[in-house]
C-alpha cells in the first residue's frame, strides 16, 4: 500500500497538527482530574497555590498555542495500522513533521547524542522519535502520541520480586508495596500530582514498554480485570493519604491516576515496572481517513 502525493501531504499535515495539539493542550480526562485536585486542596495552602498555577498554565498554553511545559519530552508514538501498511514511509513523513514542529517551537530541541553530548537540534537520532507499530484488523489508521518529560521519566522504577527490604512477595500485596515505595521515593520530583502506568510481569524491556502503554488509557477507564481494578483504585487512594501533595509541598493530591496491566512472565522472574507521568500529561491521538486527513480526535 503506497501513498500518493496528496495522501503524503495530508499525512504530513495531520501529523504536524497532532504534535501541535499534543504539546499545547491537555486531554479532557486529565484536566478533569486536575480540577478535582484543585477543589480537593485546602484554601491558603501551598498545595492549593500549586494547583491554581497548574490550572492557569493549562488555560494559557491552550490559548497561546504554546507548549504546556518547556520540556516537550520524548516523542512517543503508537501506530495502529491495517495489514499491508508501509511503516518506513510513515516513519519518514512523521520525522519530517517532528523536524518542522521543532522549528515552529511546538517541540523543544530536546534530543542529545549520548556519546558526544551534541544536540542535533531537530529531535532526530537513534531511538527518537520512539515509534511503536501494531497491526490491527481495521482498515483505518490510528496514531496516538505522548510527550513524556525527563523529570518524571527519571522517577520511574522497576522492581524484581521478591524484594526482601520491602517485604514484598510475589503476589498483589507485594506489587502494592513496591508501587507505593516508588510513589514515596518520587516525592514531588516528577512534577506531581502524577499518573502511574504499571505493568506486572514480562521481561525488563517489555514491562517498561507496556507500562507506558497503560498511560494511553483515559483516567476514567476501568480495568477489565477485577483484581487490578481494585488495586488501581487502592493505589490512588492510599497515595493521596501519604501527604506528599502537588510538587511535594504536602497536601491531599499525590496521584491523579494509576493504570495497571499484567503480562506473562518466566517462572523465575516477577517484575513490576512503573512509569510516572507528570501533571503535564500530554497525550492525544487521531483516526485518519483514507485520504490521510484527521477524521476523529481520540481523547
Amino acid at each position: 500500500m503506497k501513498l500518493d502525493k496528496d495522501q503524503k501531504k495530508n499525512l504530513y499535515d495531520s501529523m504536524l497538527e497532532l504534535i501541535r495539539v499534543t504539546s499545547t493542550q491537555i486531554p479532557e480526562d486529565v484536566q478533569k482530574e486536575v480540577l478535582k485536585a484543585l477543589k480537593r486542596e485546602k484554601k491558603n495552602t501551598t498545595a492549593k497555590y500549586a494547583m491554581e498555577i497548574i490550572d492557569k498554565n493549562i488555560e494559557l498554553a491552550k490559548s497561546k498555542s504554546q507548549p504546556l511545559c518547556q520540556d516537550t519530552g520524548t516523542v512517543l508514538v503508537y501506530v495502529d495500522h491495517p495489514v499491508g501498511f508501509n511503516q518506513g514511509e510513515f516513519t519518514k513523513i512523521f520525522e519530517k513533521a517532528v523536524v518542522d514542529a521543532t522549528k515552529k517551537g511546538y517541540l523543544r530541541q530536546n534530543s542529545v547524542d549520548t556519546l558526544t553530548g551534541k544536540n542535533d537540534s531537530m529531535n532526530l537520532g537513534p531511538g527518537h522519535p520512539s515509534i511503536h507499530f501494531h497491526e490491527h484488523k481495521k482498515k483505518s489508521l490510528e496514531v496516538k502520541m505522548m510527550l513524556k518529560g525527563g523529570g518524571c521519566e527519571n522517577v520511574g522504577a522497576q522492581y524484581s520480586l521478591p524484594n526482601v527490604a520491602l517485604e514484598a512477595g510475589r503476589d498483589l500485596d507485594g506489587v502494592r508495596k513496591v508501587i507505593l515505595d516508588a510513589v514515596v521515593k518520587a516525592q514531588g520530583k516528577g512534577c506531581g500530582p502524577g499518573v502511574l502506568g504499571v505493568t506486572i510481569g514480562g521481561d525488563r524491556g517489555s514491562g517498561y514498554i507496556a507500562s507506558k502503554e497503560q498511560l494511553l488509557r483515559t483516567l476514567d477507564d476501568k480495568n477489565d480485570i477485577p483484581a487490578l481494578k481494585k488495586l488501581e483504585k487502592d493505589i490512588v487512594e492510599t497515595s493521596n493519604r501519604l501527604g506528599i501533595g502537588p510538587m511535594g509541598f504536602g497536601g491531599k493530591t499525590t496521584l491523579l491516576g494509576c493504570k495497571i496491566s499484567a503480562l506473562n512472565r518466566l517462572p523465575a522472574s516477577y517484575f513490576v515496572s512503573i512509569s510516572y507521568m507528570c501533571w503535564a500529561f500530554r497525550r492525544q491521538g487521531v483516526t485518519l481517513t483514507g485520504k490521510q486527513k484527521i477524521s476523529k480526535w481520540l481523547y
Binding site: L60, P67, Q70, G105, V184, Q187, G243
Partner: protein, 198 residues
C-alpha cells in the same frame, strides 16, 4: 502571600520561612549546569551576583527584531547543582536560588551559613512563569554555552514561588519525605491487621 522586592538583602531573606508563598519582583539571573560548573572551576563571573537570585532555568528565548522575548521559562531540576550551589553562595554572595525538586544537605547548610533561601517554582508551569517576565535585560556567556545554558538577566513581576528551604535549617522536602515515609509504614500496617482479622 509575601512579597519580595528588588534590591534583595540578607535581612529580607532571613525573614523568610519554609512554607511561605512569595511573589518576587525585580531581577533574576538564570543559571544551570554549565554556569555552575564554570564558576566551580574558577571561571570569572561576568555579573556581580552579590545579593542576587539565581534561577535554575533554561528558557526558550526568541529574537524578534533585535529584541529578546521569552517563550517558556519553567524551572529545571535543581539537584544537579547540589555539588556547586553552596560554593556560589560562599564565593559570589547570592541570596536566593529558584528551581524545582529541592536540594540536599550541602545547599541547606550553605543557606544557613551564608544567608540564602531555596524557592520552589511550579514545575511545568512554563507559560504562567514566562508571563511574569517583563523584560530581558542582558545575556552573558551565550556564545560559550548556548542559549538555554547562558546567564539571562531578567526583570520579573510577581513571580510565584514557595520557600521550601530557608536560612534557618528548615527544609520542607525533608519534612514531607519523613512524614510520608512514616505514613506509608502505618498504611502497610493497617492492611496487615485487617488481613489478619479476616
Amino acid at each position: 502571600m509575601k512579597k519580595l522586592n528588588y534590591p534583595f538583602d540578607e535581612k529580607q531573606i532571613r525573614a523568610l520561612k519554609v512554607g511561605d508563598m512569595v511573589m518576587i519582583s525585580g531581577k533574576l539571573f538564570t543559571g544551570r549546569d554549565a554556569v555552575h560548573k564554570y564558576l566551580h572551576e574558577g571561571g570569572k563571573s561576568p555579573v556581580n551576583f552579590k545579593n542576587q537570585i539565581i534561577y535554575h532555568c533554561g528558557p526558550v528565548v526568541l529574537e524578534k527584531g533585535g529584541k529578546y522575548e521569552v517563550m517558556a521559562a519553567g524551572p529545571t531540576t535543581s539537584i544537579r547543582e547540589e555539588p556547586y550551589q553552596w560554593e556560589v553562595m560562599r564565593d559570589h554572595g547570592i541570596v536566593g536560588v529558584i528551581g524545582k525538586g529541592g536540594m540536599g544537605p550541602k545547599t541547606l547548610e550553605g543557606c544557613r551559613k551564608y544567608g540564602c533561601v531555596y524557592f520552589h517554582a511550579i514545575g511545568g508551569a512554563a507559560q504562567v512563569l514566562a508571563e511574569k517576565i517583563k523584560s530581558v535585560d542582558d545575556v552573558y556567556l551565550k556564545e560559550k554555552f548556548g542559549s538555554p545554558e547562558a546567564i539571562w538577566e531578567l526583570t520579573v513581576e510577581d513571580f510565584p514561588v514557595v520557600v521550601t528551604m530557608d536560612s534557618h535549617g528548615g527544609s520542607l522536602h525533608s519534612v514531607v519525605e519523613g512524614e510520608s515515609t512514616k505514613a506509608l509504614a502505618s498504611e502497610l500496617k493497617k492492611k496487615k491487621s485487617t488481613a489478619k482479622k479476616k
